[in-house]
Every structure is written in C-alpha cells, then in structure tokens.
C-alpha cells in the first residue's frame, strides 16, 4: 500500500494485476476482485505506444524527498534533469506525513511532510531544466547505460550521463498465523488510506512495532477516530523517539514491550489478534497469551530498502541488519560501484525524510561537480563537503540515529576502496 507490494492487485477494466493503490478513480471504472490465476486479458489494444528517446544530464529514479531535492539541486547548477516517478503525484512518502518536521528552516523544520512536497512541486513546475515523467517507472537498465522507462502509453529510452537512484523502501512483512487475512496491512498503507485518501481503515486497531512509524500511525489512527487497543514491541524497549511515545502514552494507548503478535483470527477478515510475551531470546512464554478484539492489525516492523535498480545494474551490494536489507556499497558522496550511479534516500538504508533530502543534494552536487567546470564545479564540491560534514558530524550525531549511523558507516567506503571493488566487480552497465 505504499506502492511496492502486490497486495492491492485487482482486475481493473478487465486488466489483471493493476495496483489499485495508485490507480486513479474515473467515471465508469470496473474494478473486480482478483483471486488466484487470472487468464490473460483479451481485447487489450496493442500498438499506440509512443516510443521516445531522451537525453539527460541527470536521471532521478523516484520522486520522494531524496529525488526531489536531488533534481532541484542539479537544476540549480544548470543540469538537465528527468525525474521518473511511479505515483500520480510527486512527493513519495511525504504526501502522507501530516506531522511537523524538526530542525532548521533550511531543512523544512516546522513544516508538515505534505507541505514540503507541495513546496518542492511548486519549485519544480516552474523550472524548465526539469522534466517530470509521473506514473512511469524504470523497468531496466541496459548496456551502454540505456534506461528503459514505461508509463502513460509511452516507452522512453533514456541515456543519462548520471543517475540518482532514490526508489525508496517497501514495508517489511511479518510471518505469523493467518497473516494474509484482510485487515492486516502495513502502517504506511494505513497512512495512505487515512491521510491521502481520507478513508477510515477500521474501528479497533492493534499496532505491531513501536518505532517512529508505529507511534506516529497510532496517533494518526486516533485522529481518524480509530480506537487503538495496544502497540506491541518485541524488544525490551520502545524503538521510536520519546516525543512520539509520550504523545501516544498520554492518550492512554498501552505499549507492550517484550510482546509479539502470534496470530490473527477471523472469517472473512481480522476479528481477533493473539499477542504473546517473549523471553530474552524472543521465544514465546507459554501461558502469557493475550487476545484483542480488533478488525485492523497494522504492521510497523520496519522498512526494506528497494535494492532492485542497483542490484540489476550490478552494483556491489551488502546485506546489513542495521539498514533493513541489502544496500549498495557507496562512497561518502553516495556513488555506487556502478560509475555515476548514486543512491539516496530510504534505498540507501532508510532513515527519514530529512536525511533523504540531504543525501539527494549530496549526490546531485557530486554529479554537478563532474558535469560542470571552473568555479561552478568547485562550488559544488565545497557545498557537498559542507552538507556531508553536517550530515555525519551533526545530524547523525544524535543518539536517536546511532543505529542508522553505524549501519550507513558500514556500507560507506573510501574512493580508493571503491576503485578496488570496481576492478573486482566490473559492472555490465555504466553511465556517463
């Protein structure tokens, strides 16, 4: 429900496997439930696909906070930018963030997430250096650095000098009994339904995971008039920030640490959830089961970086438990082992929107330093260094970001080390 999984696939106007979470409603639309195998759709019109070729200094894959800030920064340095984004509207996960951001004004402190997105969209719309392909997606990268994009009836073959990959992350799924019952959804999905579409997702909820997403979504559920029975957390302590935890506590929502969700039950949808206490080794303690009558179970158990673009390009990857999954190795200016392919935002190992925006800018500045010359190039290098210093030594110095900092450090290598990695893993594609 944040546009990555297949859980919302339905048959729309006779075409199966349509992601209904991002399909706009229109007059006369026929939506049918999709169960099991669907025979190939008949009567689909072939042809009518426009084939276009595009060149760009920078291609940005994914128009969330990282991608948008990368695009704007690159345009500021005079680069021609193309943004490819799957959604109807740019902004990525910012669109559903109704809480205020912390931090300085330059980092949008005091604004709410969706307002930041509006700000970016306004700036990009009036910028003729930037071309936006929305409802479009990169489906593959090919030899010679050719990027294949499809969307809205057109196929694009794009030849960029450089790429910032900011495809985001998907919600982590959890294995428990009857986990495919309707009513079990990702917390981000619930945010989409409530905050973007204005639909109440259920009446009584259980939230799994007490990280920031779990805590914030609990508060948003209350705002939408949903009763939150409890938040369960398998670890001995609450994962999210104190401000968010204090807020939900004030509203009387119990946070059960050392507890996990074991099963959900119900006929057509979730009617009951079974929670159990765990010991130090996360093994369930017999006899400690608790049952909650709920029709909604939200999974807020973390995110998994979307690694597909980088893995397909042949970038050297590393699996990191601190970062939620496999991520590409990168230099401090966020270049991967595929030359001129950068990683920024959640895909680099998840943190939050503020670090995503900083990373996007660093990646764009590194590109700008290579594609411009003279004083412009040296200004880009200077600006990137300043941002990088702020990111590592100030912003991430907060103990709240210690885990992410450790994780990101473990996948960041020196330029010399990256050259060595490149010689050991020559990538089949290259840009530039």
């Amino acid at each position: 429900m944040i546009g990555k999984c297949s859980s919302c696939f339905m048959i729309v106007d006779g075409v199966p496997n349509v992601k209904t979470c991002r399909e706009p409603v229109r007059e006369g639309l026929v939506v049918e439930r999709q169960r099991g195998w669907v025979p190939p759709a008949g009567g689909v019109e072939l042809g009518g696909v426009e084939n276009r070729e595009l060149e760009a200094d920078l291609l940005v894959v994914g128009g969330g906070p990282a991608g948008l800030s990368a695009a704007l920064k690159a345009a500021e340095y005079g680069l021609d930018v193309v943004i490819v984004d799957e959604h109807l509207r740019l902004g990525g996960q910012l669109l559903k963030q109704t809480h205020k951001f912390f931090g300085s004004v330059e980092l949008f402190g005091g604004l709410r997430g969706f307002q930041i997105a509006e700000e970016y969209i306004r700036k990009l719309e009036s910028n003729e250096k930037v071309k936006v392909l929305s409802q479009s997606a990169v489906y593959g990268v090919f030899r010679g650095g050719l990027v294949g994009v499809v969307g809205r009836g057109a196929h694009y073959a794009i030849r960029p000098k450089s790429v910032v990959g900011s495809p985001g992350a998907s919600e982590r799924y959890l294995d428990f009994v009857n986990n495919d019952l309707p009513g079990v959804i990702g917390a981000g999905g619930a945010q989409t339904i409530m905050n973007e579409f204005g639909v109440k997702p259920g009446e009584r909820a259980l939230v799994v995971g007490s990280g920031n997403v779990g805590l914030i979504v609990s508060y948003q559920l209350l705002q939408a008039g949903v009763r939150v029975e409890a938040i369960v957390e398998i670890l001995p302590e609450i994962g999210g920030w104190f401000v968010h935890a204090a807020k939900v506590r004030r509203y009387g929502i119990p946070i059960l640490t050392r507890h996990t969700l074991r099963a959900v039950y119900g006929n057509e949808r979730v009617e009951e959830a079974e929670v159990v206490e765990v010991d130090e080794r996360f093994n369930p303690i017999p006899g400690s089961e608790k049952r909650f009558e709920v029709d909604l179970v939200l999974l807020a158990v973390g995110l998994e970086p979307d690694f597909r673009l980088f893995a397909q390009c042949g970038a050297a990857m590393k699996w990191s438990p601190d970062l939620g999954g496999p991520v590409p190795l990168r230099t401090s200016d966020l270049e991967t082992s595929v030359r001129n392919l950068y990683v920024a935002g959640d895909a680099s190992g998840i943190e939050e929107a503020t670090t995503a925006m900083i990373e996007g800018q660093i990646a764009a500045l590194s590109t700008a330093s290579k594609l411009t010359d003279g004083s412009r190039a040296s200004r880009a290098i200077e600006e990137a260094e300043k941002l990088s210093k702020f990111l590592w030594d100030e912003y991430r110095a907060s103990p709240l970001l210690a885990r992410a900092r450790r994780g990101k450090l473990s996948v960041t290598v020196s330029r010399e080390e990256m050259e060595r990695i490149r010689s050991l893993n020559p990538s089949p594609v290259s840009f530039g």
Binding site: K4, C5, S6, S7, F9, V15, N17, G36, V44, E45, L46, G47, G48, V49, A137, V138, Y139, G140, V141, F142, G148, V150, H155, S170, R172, Y173, L174, D175, F176, V177, N178, N179, D180, A263, E304, F307, R308, L309, A311, Q312, K318, W319, P321, G325, P326
Partner: protein, 93 residues
C-alpha cells in the same frame, strides 16, 4: 484454496512457512533452489514482500549468513511488472 491456519510467506503464489520448512527438511540447501522449487517470489510482485522474510527463515534454519543466502539471488529486467503492449508491436495486414 488453502485455508485454516496458515502463515503465508509469498502472497502472490501462496507459499507458506510450513512448505519452506518441509523443503529445507527434504534437503533443499540452496536458496535459489528453494525459490525455484516453491515458486517463491515468482509472482507479479517479484518477491517484494517475501524474499527477505524467506531468506531470514532459510538463514535461521541452515545457519548460513544472509549475504551467503542471497549470493545467487539475481535481479533481472523487467524489475517490475510491465504491460505487454509496451514490448510488442502489431503487424498490419
């Protein structure tokens, strides 16, 4: 249609935790072999929800590290489902 109490790992192809455990018990000792045997992650979402869940189960059961489990996992284009019309061209008769 399987129902009753099941723990689903791959939602596209209805692969359960029980089936994965059974396959490992049968001697499937390579993650790619497991994927091919159970069609795990072969559905329209191409493993976006299930691969990491399955890899963790496999890592726990076999004692292999996650990097080792995933070492032969390849991503190939198309990296997401694309309607066929983008890749075919009609012939006029």
């Amino acid at each position: 249609m399987k129902r009753g109490s099941v723990t689903v790992v791959c939602r596209c192809n209805d692969v359960t935790e029980e089936e994965i455990a059974k396959a490992i018990e049968m001697g499937v000792d390579d993650f790619e072999l497991l994927r091919r045997y159970l069609r795990l992650g072969f559905g329209p979402c191409q493993g976006r929800s299930c691969i990491m869940v399955a890899a963790r189960i496999f890592s726990r059961a076999t004692g292999k590290s996650m990097d080792e489990v995933l070492s032969n996992y390849r991503i190939r284009p198309p990296i997401l489902p694309v309607p066929a019309k983008y890749f075919v061209r009609g012939v006029e008769r």
